[in-house]
């Protein structure tokens, strides 16, 4: 028999702890949390490895590639590796490890996965424009009261509420 999955913690407690983590990040390293930046580092590194001429000529890559230190050796890359480990530990202690596709029963698995890829691609694209994702731009930006953080937060959640009706069968079940 499997042990029963544990409940999630109180959201206010979770938020408070998350705030403390963000404060620690600001106090020690002078910066907020992030996630999508590490993916940018990875993409730059891969493109640099596969097509070095391209990274030297294309505007976007020039800003990041070709430095003395590898783009992968960045603060956010280490932080994101930490996120993976931390969530893994949490999954084990709360007995939530699974291997499954989380989806609404009225949609097929293929549809769920295709939509997930599209969602990820949109998020990756949008995070570049906004100079950060939900954690890097919206949460960390709000934490230090940066105007951009508030704009991005309102845009993400505003759009979410506005177009939610189109995706109802995906999420309400």
């Amino acid at each position: 028999m499997k042990k029963e999955k544990q409940e999630y913690i109180n959201p206010y407690l979770g938020g408070f702890l998350l705030g403390l983590v963000l404060l620690a990040s600001i106090y020690f390293s002078g910066r907020g949390l992030g996630a999508s930046g590490a993916i940018k580092s990875f993409v730059v590194s891969v493109v640099d490895f596969v097509a070095p001429q391209h990274t030297q000529s294309a505007e976007f890559y020039k800003q990041y590639a070709g430095n003395q230190t590898s783009a992968l050796k960045s603060w956010l890359v280490f932080e994101v590796i930490g996120v993976f480990i931390g969530a893994f530990i949490s999954g084990i202690v709360s007995n939530r490890m699974t291997l499954k596709i989380d989806k609404s029963p009225v949609i097929t698995s293929v549809r769920r996965l295709v939509f997930a890829v599209i969602g990820g691609a949109l998020f990756g694209l949008g995070a570049q424009f906004a100079r950060g994702c939900t954690s890097g731009a919206a949460l960390s930006g709000m934490g230090v009261l940066a105007t951009g953080g508030f704009i991005t937060m309102l845009a993400i959640f505003g759009t979410g509420f506005l177009f939610a009706f189109l995706f109802k069968k995906h999420w309400v079940y």
């Binding site: 990040s25 995070a127 424009f129 906004a130 100079r131 951009g148």
Partner: protein
């Protein structure tokens, strides 16, 4: 005083270890809060699940309060913290694209990674999609670039954008958050008829909620009543200004010193940066008055072996700054008599006063005038000697 990494108190290698530890805590808290489930995340948009709103808002106000407290007690120098620059249009467009991405995928990047690590296959696909998105942006960057860089407002703060004080904005943010918590609580109780998490008599059942509010109020009171470190120093400086007698240097003397520099004197221009850029005397370092209390100058100004000559617009401003510097324990301070305005008039514009100046001085002014103007011309980019304090580079 934080941030530690920016002041070289943490080696770059250790900063990476910290990044890893902070990341572990971040991932652990996200997963414990239930952010590894797309249904719980996206449920917010249908009024079914409020976990995102609660966690997100609580984290934001915790951070805002924490930053204000740390800064107030001199534990954190916000000048060294990365403040994400605001590019209005790019932030809006990016947010809208991410909002749609959220509806498609049910995750955001950080939460998808948490879900990946506990084995959600849908999250693995979302996570893979992120790379495609970043790659697309990179390849199409020449097309996006004008929008990406449009309306650069720099690292501005939201309370400045809205024209209010930081304290007021923080208070309003907290009020808004609490209202959102209350509204969502009622939605859950009466519309969704969810089992109660805590009832209105929560004082009995959840004493730590009350304790948390009480602690927060005490902190707010402390911040409201006690002056900040720099306010304290400025207030004490006013007292000192009335009684202290300082040593002075005349414009002519300064001109001579600038043309015949020794290594024992620092020339500190405390006018604001804009004025300094417009017209900076050779050999001078700009430390605007408002930032003179910043700890980044401690090593530079604290060098007791050197004399510090203060150049302000007026003598009074130099006196104020000298008092502040005395409070901070900086020694050997000398002031420019008549301030920068007198120096500008006599040496640069050569309005030589008819009385009170010897002929030798008058001749010297003529000579100094030409040489100093040459130096200014050559020195268009004034050297800013500064202890290496790096502002953290951030961004997602």
């Amino acid at each position: 005083m934080g941030p530690l990494a920016g002041q070289g108190l943490i080696s770059p290698e250790f900063d990476y270890i910290l990044a890893l530890l902070i990341g572990i805590a971040f991932g652990f808290v996200l997963e414990q809060s239930g952010f590894s489930s797309a249904k719980r995340l996206a449920g917010l948009f249908y009024g079914r699940e409020f976990v995102v709103l609660r966690v997100f808002f609580t984290a934001a106000i915790t951070t805002v309060i924490g930053v204000i407290l740390m800064e107030h007690f001199g534990m954190l120098d916000m000048n060294l913290v990365y403040i994400q620059p605001t590019f209005t249009w790019s932030a809006i467009v990016g947010g809208v694209i991410m909002g749609i991405g959220f509806l498609f995928g049910g995750f955001c990047p950080g939460t998808s990674l948490c879900a990946v690590s506990i084995g959600k296959i849908d999250a693995i696909f979302f996570f893979g999609g992120l790379f495609i998105g970043v790659f697309l942006f990179a390849e199409m960057y020449p097309i996006f670039e004008p929008l990406y860089h449009a309306q650069d407002l720099g690292g501005i703060f939201v309370f400045d954008s809205l024209g209010m004080s930081r304290g007021l904005f923080a208070a309003l943010l907290i009020v808004m958050a609490v209202m959102a918590f209350v509204v969502t609580y009622f939605i859950e109780q009466y519309i969704l008829k969810k089992p109660k998490q805590f009832n209105l008599a929560f004082i009995k059942s959840k004493p730590y909620h009350v304790a948390a509010i009480a602690v927060a109020m005490v902190f707010a009171l402390i911040v409201g009543i006690t002056p900040t470190r720099s306010q304290k120093i400025m207030a004490q400086a006013q007292e000192c200004q009335q009684k202290s007698d300082f040593s002075y240097m005349s414009s002519v003397e300064l001109a001579y010193k600038l043309l015949n520099p020794d290594n024992q004197t620092l020339y500190i221009d405390i006018r604001n940066a804009d004025d300094f850029v417009k017209l900076a005397l050779p050999k001078t370092v700009n430390i605007p008055f408002a930032s003179i209390t910043n700890r980044e100058w401690e090593d530079f100004l604290g060098d007791a072996t050197k004399k510090k000559v203060l150049i302000a617009h007026t003598e009074e401003q130099a006196q104020q700054a000298a008092c502040v510097m005395q409070q901070l324990g900086y020694k050997h301070i000398q002031l420019l008599r008549g301030g920068f305005s007198e120096f500008e008039a006599t040496i640069i514009k050569q309005h030589i006063p008819t009385t009170g100046m010897s002929d030798t001085e008058k001749t010297y002014i003529k000579k100094a005038h030409t040489e100093i103007l040459q130096l200014i011309e050559r020195n268009k980019k004034p050297i800013l000697e500064k202890k290496v304090l790096t502002k953290a580079k951030g961004g997602c």
